[in-house]
Amino acid sequence: MTAADSTQKQKVSFAVRQARRPAWALLGEKALTVLIYICGISAILFVLSIFIFVFKEAAPILFGGNFSLSQFLFSDQWYPTSEVNKRYGVWAMIAGTFSVTALAMALAVPFGLGAAIYVSEFCGPRVKETLKITIELLAAIPSVVWGFIGLTVMSKLIVTFTGAAVGVNILNGGIILALMSVPIIVSIGEDALKAVPDSYREAGVALGATRWQLVWRVLLPAAKTGLLAAVLLGVGRAVGETMAVLMATGHAVHIPHSILDSVRTLTANIAAELGEAPAESDHYRVLFLIGVLLFTITFVVNLAADMVVKGIRRK
């Protein structure tokens, strides 16, 4: 056997091994592809199955005859456990959810975006680090703690400073929710601004733009999609929040006339009542119907935002 022979053999065995390897490597790759595919569509699967579950629980009352959808949507009479006359109307809670969310966003969006711009463009590295850590800490406070702050500290302050009759109201809930959604808006908004290429900034400065012009005319338009996503996630947090608003808004079924009125939100109502509603009773089903309503609201908000973003892109 010559040396050349042995190298030849080695080469052959190597080639065979190489040829054999893809057999299981290919399989592994296939498996990984499938796995990643499943991960990818799992979000859709989860959303769909949650929606189907919620809808399935609500459907019997919706299609069960003696139930009027318009009364459910437009009556403010909510008496789910009455012994004389049960009434299921969520209009007051829809009004409550919208008023608290709107106030929270009116406070959180300017503050959140302002803070994002400051952190991303104006402050030095040390301030930046401190601020980011503090803001992340703010996001980590559990919502029940926020609710307790609302019920004890804020409610006293509101009574003292506004002369309101009661301290747990839209203003209280709105401020608490704003404080809860600001960290989300700041961190995502800052990421969006950071993603704007430095060449844009350099070009702006080279053209003699002031810092303000740079932010207003260059960075904000460039980062608009990301900033909108930041605001939307903030809205999502505000609409979906339960424990804090349950404690801070007063949980009163009441159509508000001013921001010093107590309200009840849809989410808080589900949280407070689902535990005791006997399974498969009308009350239980109506609570799931509120879940369907919340689903629809978030879906419409997200869809609208998506269309707005697409509109912006087309321009």
């Binding site: 004890t152 009759a165 747990v168 407070a272 005791e276």
Partner: protein, 306 residues
């Protein structure tokens, strides 16, 4: 090669975990043999009025029987009773009686009839802000304030003069899963519905907390949650003109106070083993001492377990 490594690593890992599990198991067994039995857990859920009390029992009982864990959670009497009907807990705390249809459901679901144990009494306190000049109120007036067709919305309707701008009565109530809510509806409102727009709090403590912070507020909550100096408990009369009675231990025991109620435990069927022992302990002098320490009214001595 790497795959083999991975496999053997996994195998060793599994072995280690299993060994650790076994050792932990042995350790537990050793502890158990010392105290005579393995660890048992009693699931206890329900009334928010009773949640502090139930917690105190659990802690006190731990000293006597370290091998029994009592897990307590609140949520309201309705939540506890719903869990009992589902059969997920051992003991439900309730500040109201189970309704006939709830008893039926429990029988249908679990095959056992719920058994009630009265473990003490509570005077339902009517709380107002400490600066409110009012000192007594009648059941009729309460119904006018809280019921759906009630006419009182201002303190001046009751003949009380409040500071300017604070004349509106801020009604503080409870969420509908609360036994206190149902008790109040049945015995004060005479089964009529509540007026909409009351601030429905999620716990007994929150009611007192909100009343303490709100000059124009009125609320109802268990007497165990009284905070003298921050809120005021009103004397209550069953009819206008009749003498109003203070919510005290003596007046609750003698049934003079008109809005008093029993505090109950419910089990599925006749309790056995650890649950039986725990319930018996609660009904004994030691358990009743805890009831008293938490601001509620204990059973009279002849009704206690020896």
């Amino acid at each position: 090669m790497t795959r083999k490594n991975l496999l053997s690593f996994l195998a060793v890992g599994c072995g280690v975990v299993m060994a650790a599990g076994l050792m932990a198991g042995c350790g537990k067994g050793g502890d158990g043999s010392k105290s005579g039995a393995a660890k048992t857990t009693i699931q206890n859920k329900g009334s928010d009025t009773m949640v502090n009390l139930a917690q105190a029992w659990a802690e006190e009982y731990k000293k006597l029987a370290p091998d029994v864990d009592v897990e307590v959670s609140g949520g309201g009497s309705g939540v506890g009773i719903a869990a009992l009907i589902r059969g997920t807990i051992d003991i439900a705390n309730a500040s109201r009686d189970m309704k006939p249809q709830e008893v039926e459901q429990a029988k249908k679901n679990t095959g056992n009839e719920p058994k009630q144990f009265v473990i003490g009494y509570d005077a339902l306190g009517i709380y107002v802000h400490k600066d409110n000049p009012l000192t007594e109120i009648s059941i009729e007036q309460l119904a006018e304030i809280y019921a759906e067709d009630g006419k009182f919305t201002k303190w001046s309707d009751l003949g009380v003069t409040m500071a300017a701008g604070k004349d509106e009565i801020i009604r503080v109530s409870r969420q509908s899963s609360s036994g206190t809510y149902e008790f109040f509806r049945e015995h004060v409102l005479n089964k009529k519905d509540f007026k909409l727009g009351s601030r429905d709090m999620n716990g007994s403590k929150e009611v007192v907390e909100l009343v303490a912070n709100t000059p124009g507020a009125i609320g109802y909550s268990g007497m165990g949650y009284n905070e003298p100096g921050k809120v005021k408990m009103l004397k209550v009369s069953s009819k206008k003109g009749e003498p109003a009675v203070e919510p005290s231990v003596a007046n609750t025991m003698s049934k003079k106070y008109p809005v008093a109620r029993s505090l109950d435990l419910y089990t599925l069927g006749e309790p056995e083993g650890a649950v039986r022992k725990y319930v018996d302990w609660i009904l004994s002098d030691a358990g009743q001492k805890v009831v008293e320490a938490n601001g509620y009214v204990p059973l009279s001595p002849e009704r206690r377990k020896k």
